[in-house]
Amino acid sequence: MEIPYTVSARRDTGLWNAKVGIWLFLASEVMLFGGLFSAYIFLRLDAGPGDWPHGLLNVPVGTGNTAILIASSVTVVLAWAALKMRDLTKYRIYMAITILCGVAFLVVKLAYEWPQKFDHFGAFIKEDALGKYEQYLGNKHLLEKGLPPRKEITGHLHNKEALKDPNIKEYEIALDPINADPTNPAMDRPHFWPKPATEKIATIEKEDVQYANMFLPKHSAYFASYFTITGLHGAHVLGGVLVFCYMMLPASTRIYRHNPEHLANRVEVAGLFWHFVDLVWIFVFPLFYLL
């Protein structure tokens, strides 16, 4: 039996059914991501000076991923336009590029960015011990310049067993440049161009540490928000890629042969979802990577 209003508009709404459905769905998505963004902003506003991590994400990689998503939005529209012009070959080419962009975004995120974070370590120093680690924090220099203090020492943890073994009394960290040379004016602001950890090793006594962990969701409210929102966004990208893959299968070609407008409408609905997902990233990127 033919499902009505998959191609033509309903008389009462003036829209075909799937378009009403996708906009209702996107409205619920706005509420989902809106709630998470609000939570992040309020956590950020409530953080004391020096408590909120800064400059820990790889900005050039994030920028590259942003460019990939913007390009994929262009190709998905071109795929839809090709269907409208009844050019199935161009449709397939543009759709394949869109899928490749989505996959590239996920690979960069899951195989490069996230693992890099899992391998990084940070130790928040207790208030009364900040002076002891002044050589790594440079807070007198920051105070003179009217900048917020540093409370965390970051880098690569040499003795990872120290995280679990209570008998090991100190952490040995290959310092990030910001802690290796904290009074250098170039370190006053976070470095957004990635610089590798130095060979300078700092020994931090556990009794001076308020909290220490790898850059996992439990490290801080910042990373908890970061992994939640980018993870949820990544799941949406994966969903979009799977739908686009389905639209490249022979089943979709059969729909096209039967009624091209039917497939064009499906691509438009999936394209609207894809644009929404990309639009979410347009907000995620400055919020987490730059501000």
């Binding site: 378009k19 529209v77 409208k84 957004f192 639009l279 347009i282 400055p286």
Partner: protein, 69 residues
Amino acid sequence: MSIKGFHIVFIVFSTLLALGIGCYCVWIDLTVGEPVYRTGAIASFVSAVVLIVYGVLFYRKMKRLRLIT
């Protein structure tokens, strides 16, 4: 809203993002003073111009093909 309209909205936000990153890079360059940020600022502003040109061309083409009415 159709995909054409949403695409134009998306391009507008992308352009604003590119302009924002450009201004941000200029600010970082003025405070930190590393030439890499100047390069970033130029790249961002060029991207913004490219996006604006693309947006206008897209709108015109959709209108010409009667995909935007």
